[in-house]
Symmetry: C2
Subunit: 131 residues, 2 copies
DNA sequence: AATAGTGGTAACCCAAAAGTAACTAATGGC
DNA sequence: GCCATTAGTTACTTTTGGGTTACCACTATT
């Protein structure tokens, strides 16, 4: 009687990956931070539809999972910089592949080019997220 | 005054990808089906912790997004076979990279090897999911 | 004296996702 | 005549994720 093997050596780690980044906001956060470190308020501005509470929460979880580095400066008003860890940097090419896949698999969707411009101090990215 | 560009040409398609596969069950379903087509009951058995209602739902969504092919045979008792579309096959290497990344980034987790064995007709995979 | 600016937190609410248990249709086998 | 079998569905409950508003601490600026 023949044996049939169903082999998923990767299913469990895949589940883990999805637990870490498979939600509404985290891939975007990682993508934004791939441009370099960024302050909390900047992230909040660049993702205008996220609430502060949720952004705080996502950042905390990403930090706990070792994907983000959080640097808090003792200044007034406060300044907190978030940046990617090595782990997270290793994930970027895969995220790129995921988005490339979508562009390829759903050409009819013509995904927007999310180019966001900061001009000078604050006004420019204000302009952008107002649009 | 220097302009600073924050470029995410991929953010939107990435969001789309996450909407399609970024949840608890879908990557596992795709991974299981990468071994070939499979019946509803088999999927239900191999993912013992999913409820039938949710499995039905996930399969329906995957089918609607063009990742799964559903073949229903007019037999009694009913037989329904699910298999991957070309789109989904194109996604497999990326899923592989995601799981490889987790294995690499979290070596301390020592993810289980999810090897599931079907022996003959039914008993074997019964044995497996009972464990 | 008042206000703006920053990175949060606390209390509360809501909708969507997921889980549970019972039920169905149609047939073959006992 | 009765049960097992399969791929669901239905109705109901629970859990989760996310959203909203208000508030705080501390200082520089007006």
């Amino acid at each position: 009687m023949a044996r049939k093997y169903i082999d998923n050596p990767n299913a469990c780690s895949l589940v883990h990956t999805m637990n870490i980044i498979g939600n509404k906001w985290k891939p975007i956060i990682l993508y934004l931070l791939s441009n370099g470190s960024m302050r909390f308020g900047m992230l909040n501005t660049l993702i205008p539809t996220i609430s502060k509470k949720v952004l705080t929460n996502q950042l905390k979880e990403l930090e706990n999972d070792g994907l983000l580095l959080r640097q808090s400066f003792a200044e007034i008003p406060p300044r907190v910089e978030y940046s990617l860890t090595e782990k997270a940097v290793g994930l970027l090419p895969v995220l790129k592949m995921l988005s490339d896949w979508a562009n390829d698999a759903y050409p009819e969707m013509k995904f927007e080019q999310c180019r966001i411009i900061e001009n000078g101090k604050k006004l420019a990215y204000n302009n952008v997220y107002k649009n």
